[in-house]
C-alpha cells in the first residue's frame, strides 16, 4: 500500500534500465554502462529489467500508483521497447527479390499498370499523329510545346551525334536526377490520382508532339533526333508508364476499397505499389545510363538499334516470363505479414478456453 516505499524499491531497477536505454540509443549496445553489462550479460540484464518494468506497468493499477508515475512507466517501457525491438536493417538480398520476383508478378496482374500504359502510349501515339500531320491539325505541335522549344530541339540535333566521352557521366547523372525525379513525383502524386494522371498525360502529349514535329518532312536534324532516342526509348517510356501505374494503384486503394476499411486498403495498395515503383526506378536509371553513354555517342546506328531491340526483349521477358502467375511465389513472398491485431484475435478463444477449464 505504501507507494513511496514501493517506488523507492523499484526505482533502482528503473534507473538502471534508463541508463541502459541511453547507452543503447547512443552506441547501440550496453557495453559502456559498466563492466557487468558487457556483451551477452548486458543484453540479458536489459531484457530482464524490461520485463520487470512491464510487470510494474501491468500492476500499476493494482498498486494504485499515482498517475505521473504511471506516465513515467509508460515512457520507460516504450523507450526500452524501442531499443529491444529495433528496425531490421534491410537485407541485401531483399531488393533483388523485390525486383525480380515481386515486381514482375505485380506488374503482370495489376490493372492500374495496364490503364497507365494504355493512357500513356495512347496519348503519345495520338499526339504524335496529330503533331506529324500538319495539314489536318495545323499548329498542334507548336501550341503544345511552343515554337521556340521545338525549333531549339531541331537546332540541337543539326550536327551528327558526337558528344565527347568525358561528358557521358555528367549527362547520365543529370538524366538520373531529372527523369527518375519525375517518375518518383508521378508515383507520389498517384495517391491523389488527378495530379498523377495530369503528369502522365502531360509527358505523353509533349513527347508525342515533339516526336510528331520531328517526323515532319523537311525538319533539319530529324535523323539525328531519332537516332538519339532509339537506344533509351524502351526503358524510359516503360518506366514512366510503370511509375504512373504504381501511383494509380496507391490512389485507387484510397478511393476503391474492395471491401476493406479505407485505411487497410490504402496500406495494402501501398505495399503492392512499392515493388512496381522500384522496378520503374531501376528502369529510369538504366535509361539514364543509356541516354548518357550510348545515345549521344558517335557509335554506329546499328549498335543503338541492337541495344534498343535487346532492351525491349529484356523488358518483355521480365514482364511475361518472371511475371506469369505462379503459385509458389505467394508463399515465398517477403510481404507476407500479419497485423498484430489478427494474431491477438486468433489467440483470444484459446485463452478463454483455458480459463473455463481452470
Amino acid at each position: 500500500m505504501n507507494v513511496a516505499k514501493l517506488l523507492e524499491k523499484r526505482r533502482v531497477d528503473w534507473t538502471e534500465l534508463e541508463r541502459l536505454c541511453e547507452a543503447m540509443e547512443l552506441r547501440g549496445s550496453t557495453d559502456s554502462v559498466s563492466p557487468q553489462h558487457r556483451g551477452a550479460s548486458g543484453v540479458a540484464r536489459f531484457s530482464s529489467l524490461y520485463r520487470a518494468a512491464c510487470a510494474d506497468l501491468a500492476l500499476a493499477d493494482a498498486y494504485q500508483l499515482p498517475p505521473n508515475t504511471v506516465t513515467y512507466l509508460h515512457r520507460l517501457v516504450a523507450r526500452a521497447h524501442n531499443q529491444l525491438y529495433r528496425t531490421h536493417t534491410p537485407a541485401p538480398g531483399g531488393w533483388i527479390r523485390i525486383l525480380f520476383q515481386e515486381a514482375p508478378q505485380r506488374i503482370f496482374n495489376d490493372g492500374c499498370v495496364r490503364v497507365a500504359t494504355l493512357v500513356f502510349f495512347g496519348l503519345f501515339a495520338l499526339s504524335m499523329v496529330m503533331g506529324a500531320s500538319e495539314a489536318q491539325f495545323p499548329g498542334f505541335a507548336e501550341r503544345i510545346c511552343g515554337t521556340k522549344m521545338l525549333e531549339g530541339t531541331a537546332e540541337s540535333f543539326k550536327e551528327p551525334l558526337a558528344v565527347r566521352p568525358e561528358e557521358y557521366t555528367a549527362r547520365a547523372a543529370f538524366y538520373i536526377r531529372h527523369n527518375t525525379g519525375i517518375g518518383l513525383q508521378c508515383f507520389a502524386y498517384g495517391i491523389l490520382l488527378i495530379p498523377c494522371l495530369v503528369t502522365l498525360a502531360y509527358n505523353a502529349i509533349v513527347l508525342g508532339a515533339t516526336f510528331g514535329y520531328m517526323s515532319r518532312d523537311g525538319i533539319e536534324g530529324a535523323d539525328h533526333f531519332f537516332e538519339f532516342v532509339t537506344a533509351h526509348g524502351p526503358f524510359e517510356l516503360t518506366a514512366i508508364a510503370l511509375s504512373a501505374g504504381a501511383g494509380l494503384r496507391l490512389g485507387m486503394g484510397l478511393f476503391y476499397t474492395r471491401g476493406m476499411s479505407r485505411v487497410d486498403s490504402v496500406r495494402q495498395s501501398g505495399r503492392d505499389a512499392v515493388p512496381v515503383m522500384a522496378a520503374s526506378a531501376t528502369m529510369f536509371v538504366l535509361a539514364a545510363f543509356t541516354e548518357g553513354f550510348l545515345s549521344p555517342s558517335g557509335a554506329p546506328y546499328l549498335i543503338k538499334v541492337a541495344w534498343s531491340i535487346f532492351s525491349s526483349g529484356m523488358i518483355t521477358l521480365y514482364f511475361v516470363v518472371l511475371g506469369f502467375p505462379r503459385n509458389e511465389s505467394e508463399r515465398g513472398s517477403l510481404v507476407r505479414t500479419a497485423r498484430y491485431a489478427d494474431l491477438v484475435d486468433s489467440r483470444v478463444p484459446a485463452d478463454e478456453g483455458d480459463r473455463d477449464a481452470t
Partner: protein, 386 residues
C-alpha cells in the same frame, strides 16, 4: 492458487483492454496504446503537426547542409584531380548531381531505416516513426512514407500569387493536404503514413520519475485525524494524485477554489471545522493514501500535537488530549509526548489548519503560535469561534 488465478485474470483483462485500444484510439486524447509481446499495453503520445513541422524544417536544413558539405568535398577532390585530366571535371559534376538526387529523395528513408525510425530532425524534436501496430518501422514502410511526402506537401503555390511580375513557377509547398489528412485521421497520419501504415509518436529523451514530497508539517498531522473507517476509493485516489501533481501550477486561491468541490463533503463526513483549508485537506488525504507509512504506526505530530481540526473541538476551551484519544486511539499514540496545552494557545489553535495561518502551504507552520500573534496579525482569527 487464488493469487495465481487473479494474476491470470488481470492478464486477460489487459488483453481485452489492449484489443479495444488497438481498435479505437481513446477519444479526445492523443495517446495510443501499443501491445507488446510481453502482453503489456503501454501508451504512446502521438506527435501532431506542431511537433513534426519543426522536425521537417530541421531535416530540410540538415539535408541541404549535407549536400553542401559533401558537394564541397567532392568539388575540392575533383578540382585537384582535374589537374591530371579533363575527364574529372564532368565526373565531379556527375557525382554532385547524383548526390543531390539521392539525398533529396532518400534522406528520410535512410535515416528512418538505419536509425530506428528517426532522422536528425526527429531526434531533436523527440519524435519517432513506428508502425501502427507498435513494431519498429520497416525499411519498406520508411521508403513509402518518405516518397509520398511530396504528395503531402501539395498543393504547391507559385510566387506570382503575391508578385504578378514573376513567371508562374509552382515550387512553394503548402502542405495543406498533409495537414488536413493529419487532422482527419485518428492517429494523426499524413497520406504517406496512411499508405505505409506508420505513425509518429513522441519519444522524449529526458524525463524524471516525479515524486511528490510533502514538506508541510501540518499535512501528516491533519492526515492522522482522518477517520480510520474512511476508505479511499480507486477513483478518489487517482483524483487526489492528479490534484497534488497539478497544485504546484496553481495559485493558493485557485487551489482552494478547485479543492473546495471535494473538500466540503469530506469536512462534513469527517466532522472537521468548516474553516479548514480545502487544499490542505486534499493534500493530507493524498499523504494518507500514498505516502503514510502504515495505519498502525503513530503519526509524529511534533509541535502540532495540541491542535485538533475537529468541529466539536472548536468551541472547547481547553484540553484536547482526552477526546482525541478516545476518538482515534490507534492513530495517536504517544500521548505522553504531547505538550500540555496552554490556555492562551487554545484560543488560537484552530487557525493552524485554515489557509490564512500561513501564506503558502509549503512553509512549515510556526512551532507554536506566539502569544503576540493575535494582536500583530488580526486577520488570522477570521472565521474562528472567538
Amino acid at each position: 492458487m487464488a493469487s495465481g488465478g487473479d494474476n491470470r485474470g488481470t492478464a486477460v483483462d489487459h488483453f481485452r483492454f489492449s484489443i479495444i485500444c488497438m481498435a479505437a484510439v481513446q477519444p479526445l486524447d492523443t495517446t495510443i496504446a501499443v501491445v507488446t509481446p510481453e502482453n503489456i499495453a503501454f501508451e504512446y503520445q502521438l506527435a501532431g503537426p506542431f511537433r513534426r513541422l519543426p522536425a521537417y524544417l530541421i531535416d530540410l536544413a540538415v539535408r541541404w547542409g549535407v549536400i553542401v558539405a559533401v558537394g564541397l568535398a567532392i568539388l575540392i577532390i575533383g578540382g585537384m584531380l582535374s589537374a591530371l585530366s579533363t575527364f574529372y571535371g564532368p565526373l565531379t559534376f556527375a557525382f554532385i548531381v547524383i548526390l543531390i538526387f539521392v539525398i533529396n529523395w532518400f534522406y528520410g528513408t535512410i535515416g528512418e531505416a538505419y536509425f530506428n525510425g528517426r532522422t536528425v530532425g526527429k531526434w531533436f524534436c523527440g519524435i519517432r516513426v513506428i508502425e501502427v501496430d507498435g513494431r519498429p518501422v520497416s525499411p519498406r514502410s520508411a521508403l513509402l512514407r518518405n516518397l509520398l511526402r511530396i504528395a503531402d506537401l501539395a498543393p504547391v503555390a507559385a510566387i506570382n500569387t503575391w508578385d504578378p511580375d514573376v513567371p508562374p513557377i509552382y515550387f512553394i509547398p503548402t502542405g495543406i493536404i498533409g495537414l488536413v489528412t493529419m487532422m482527419m485521421t485518428e492517429r494523426m497520419q499524413r497520406l504517406g503514413d496512411l499508405a505505409a501504415g506508420t505513425m509518429v509518436v513522441v519519444d522524449e529523451r529526458k524525463w524524471q520519475l516525479p515524486i511528490a514530497k510533502v514538506d508541510d508539517a501540518r499535512v501528516p498531522a491533519l492526515a492522522s485525524y482522518v477517520p480510520g473507517d474512511y476508505l479511499v476509493t480507486r477513483k478518489m485516489a487517482r483524483t487526489l494524485a492528479t490534484y497534488v501533481e497539478r497544485r504546484h501550477f496553481l495559485t493558493p486561491p485557485r487551489r482552494r477554489e478547485v479543492a473546495r468541490n471535494l473538500s466540503d463533503p469530506l469536512i462534513e463526513r469527517f466532522e472537521f471545522r468548516q474553516d479548514i483549508d480545502p487544499d490542505l485537506l486534499l493534500y493530507a488525504l493524498y499523504y494518507k493514501t500514498f505516502l503514510a507509512d502504515s495505519m498502525t504506526e503513530p503519526a509524529d505530530l511534533g509541535p502540532l500535537a495540541g491542535y485538533s481540526p475537529l468541529a466539536k473541538d472548536a468551541d472547547k476551551p481547553s484540553g484536547l488530549a482526552e477526546p482525541l484519544q478516545s476518538e482515534i486511539p490507534d492513530e495517536l499514540g504517544k500521548p505522553a509526548q504531547r505538550q500540555p496545552v496552554q490556555r492562551r494557545q487554545t484560543t488560537q489553535r484552530g487557525d493552524v489548519w485554515s489557509h490564512s495561518s500561513s501564506s503558502a502551504a509549503a512553509n512549515p507552520p510556526p512551532p507554536a503560535p506566539a502569544p503576540a500573534a493575535p494582536t500583530s496579525d488580526p486577520p488570522r482569527t477570521a472565521g474562528d469561534g472567538q
